[in-house]
Amino acid sequence: MRGLFCRHIPDCPEFLLYPVAVIGCNPFPPMSNPFREDLVSRTRPEACTVVIFGATGDLAHRKLVPALYNLTVSGEMPPGVKIIGFARREKTDQEFRDGLEEINRKVSRTGHDDEIWKSFAPNIFYHQSEFTDADGYRRLAEKLDAIDRDRGGKGNRLFYIASAPEFFDDILTQLKAAGLNLAKDSCWSRVIVEKPFGTDLATAQHLNQVVNDTFHEKDTYRIDHYLGKETAQNLMVLRFANAIFEPLWNSRYIEQIQITCSENLGMEGGRGGYYDKSGALRDMVQNHLLQLLSLVAMEPPTDLSADGVRDEKVKVIRSLRKWDTPEKVLKNVVRAQYVKGSVDGKSVPGYREEDRVDPESMTESYVALRIMIDTWRWSGVPFYIRMGKQLPKKASEISVHFKSPPGVLFNALPTGVPGGNVLAIRIQPDEGISLRMVSKIPGTSLRLEPVKMDFQYSTSFGKASPEAYERLLLDAIAGDATLFARRDEVEEAWKFIDCIEHAWQQQETSMPMAEYVAGTWGPKEADDLLHEDGNSWRRL
């Protein structure tokens, strides 16, 4: 086999040592697999080794490995995918596998199948090293080659940086030093970077520089798990595959758009340490909510390619009206912290009394913004965004509020017309879409009330949607970056966020920090923000 495959490839020096299948120097021109025709309608994932940095953490145990397992169960994963967990703790391969199995039994979306796990687990390995230890990366390179040699592999690598953000630089630098960023012939080497992509524009630019010094931008996948959710993906389908919405999708027919992300949790489990340095604006708005906003507001892309879609998204972020003075920020942004209250019937402490939170903290646990997009399509339409902790329930949704029809016919009625149409796109929970319309109440008199047409993924399609991480991991393995943030998107989003953060920091004393009782829908100031425009927050 060695001679057969390697004799024509003089520029592949390793051929003297290893068979081609092992070292991954594929000397043949790329072919397509004829047997893939019509079996799946997506880009084909290729066998690879997934290296997870921060493998002993929650994300790897509860999300990443179960996602890879579920992809295997559903037959989406190509044979020969291997996983290496990279972390600092001492562990054997078997201890690592046992820990993953224990969690997978509890969290796997498809359940845990012992037979499948038996064939899945031997492809999981553990590699102990400090993130800053150059020797650890050299040993990792050797291990990757050895695993490919022993278990067959083509040399494709996917590095998933799921560690704490302070190690991002070190990991990328060491990957480069060990040559792991370089793909072997006809193979690829990609990196997935978890949020946060920096803490402001400067750090984001620095991180992007380090990433791009190590990997090409086309091989860089900045993950935002919100974009892997079914409804977020459905946004483009809803807008561009249904003729009835797009003609109305502009300032002529839309009064306002609201994007809400509410959480009914506080700083449990020691989260306060990280959160108090970040806050709602940087933790959620900069990434998840601005990504959703750009999907809602973007122009139709020229095609569905990764750059086709991302080109349009970044135009939206660039068009966000920037607030260049603290006064403008004060007028359009409300920040707040929760005070002692009760959520789900349980008493909860105020934000400043939370574990690992500075008692004099000026970090916001709630933020509400009125955003204007300076484009022809959206001129004059406010986009209201709110995100908060310790709100009454967990919910993420986008609601599009259409203008009311001319009131010439029904305004004379004692009850009037009860509001305009609202298209609500629920991201979580109960992913789905509903449309509020006005209808006549049955009876001899003419009385109008809102009714709701509701579509729910769970009841309409029965089958559970794949977890966001399943879709995103599969896309990264298949080389499809459509649902990942590009460098310019991230940096443009930080430019917008930095205006607000700078205003807050400059005017620490005069810029108010509002309060809301835990378990309520946020501060009165956030309600006032909308009342100024004659609007109010949608009741969830």
Binding site: M1, P19, F28, F35, D38, G462
Partner: protein, 355 residues
């Protein structure tokens, strides 16, 4: 009241009775994405199919129309029942799907289309699952109202003739008729396994070197095995003996042999072995050059085993085998949708091998 089929109603009162059914309980949600009709001429099929629909509606919200026809009866008659299959969605909401069952006797032209299909949920696609042999009921006026026609060719005594009728329906239908053979669905996980093994670029290089294909199947599932073989041959670009003016098929005991010609002129010998103890499709072995691929499944096993060997390079993988049960196979089909154009592509070669 029939415990499985529900409340018997007059045919002209079905709509009213359905409205009353929903009015009884406001806590339930009526869900419907498709019209799903099941036709059978087998006595007792209504109850059996109602159980299948009960399982199916857990994942596929539909209005189910069950039809049992006794064409041998002298008197034409029609009876109808209505019920709803309800399931808790995510442990909270009770989601229900309507089911209307019809028992028809005697022959009355156009009755199936005019009476039964008057009860479709408007604007939603109609999927008709035809159970058993195709009968004279299957004619143009019927299939012109269907969007997707599902059948199981494993049930057919004379698949050559039945596939001729299906071909005719495709060409005569006034709108694109999607056809779906459950025998084809049964081979899906084998096809997926082969495709994933050939994702390996080195395996792809060996496609032209393939000389041997061996398939073991249960005798009842010969069509699944033949379709799998036709799929391999069509996608790999092999020519059949017919094109070469050679006999392509030879039968010997429990084996049947076929010959194909590779694009490079080399001959590929294919053998089907029928084994009563096999899973519907039990083994697919592809060999040639340095390539040796085996995909196998033990009878009743829920997994398939995939092995790719190229010299020293060997990978073994387990994958889900899918299901054999008709209800679950239908469910897989409904989940996948599509126009099934690949099946149409392999159909001519498959029919050639059937003859």
């Amino acid at each position: 009241m029939d415990p499985e089929l529900g409340q018997e109603v007059a045919v002209e009162g079905i709509h009213t009775a359905l409205r009353q059914l929903w009015a009884q309980d406001e806590a339930r949600t009526n869900a419907c994405l498709i019209n799903f009709a099941v036709y059978s001429e087998q006595p007792g099929s209504l109850r059996k199919n109602s159980e299948i629909v009960r399982v199916l509606t857990r994942e596929h919200a539909c209005r189910a129309l069950l039809i049992e026809m006794d064409r041998g009866a002298t008197q034409a008659s029609i009876r109808a029942w209505i019920t709803a299959h309800c399931h808790l969605s995510e442990g909270r909401k009770s989601v229900c799907c309507e089911q209307i069952s019809f028992a028809l006797t005697g022959v009355s032209r156009g009755r199936l289309r005019n009476t039964v299909f008057a009860h479709l949920s408007s604007d939603l696609p109609l999927i008709l699952w035809w159970q058993g042999e195709l009968s004279p009921i299957f004619e143009e006026r019927l299939y012109s109202v269907i969007d997707r026609f599902v059948f199981d060719s494993a049930d057919w005594e004379n698949p050559s003739e039945s596939f001729r009728l299906v071909d005719q329906a495709i060409s005569e239908s006034s709108h694109p008729l999607v056809i779906q053979d459950l025998a084809w669905t049964r081979s899906y996980h084998f096809r997926l396994a082969v495709a994933s093994l050939f994702d390996d670029p080195l395996a792809q290089q060996q496609i032209g070197a393939i000389r041997l294909v061996e398939i073991t199947c249960h005798p009842r599932h010969r069509n699944s095995a033949l379709q799998l073989l036709a799929w391999l041959a069509v996608l790999a670009g092999w020519r059949t003996g017919l094109e070469l003016h050679l006999a392509i098929s030879k039968k010997h005991g429990n084996k049947q042999g076929f010959s194909f010609e590779q694009k490079n002129g080399a001959v590929v010998e294919a053998t089907l072995t029928f084994d009563e103890n096999s899973a519907p499709v039990g083994l697919l072995h592809i060999a040639g050059g340095s390539l040796d691929i085996k995909v196998d499944r033990e009878k009743a096993s829920t997994h398939i085993h995939m092995r790719l060997a190229m010299g020293d390079h060997v990978t073994d993988t387990l994958a889900p085998a899918g299901c054999d049960d008709c209800a679950l196979l239908i469910g897989e089909q409904l989940a996948r949708g599509g126009k099934n154009s690949l099946f149409l592509k392999i159909l001519p070669m498959f029919r050639e091998m059937l003859d």
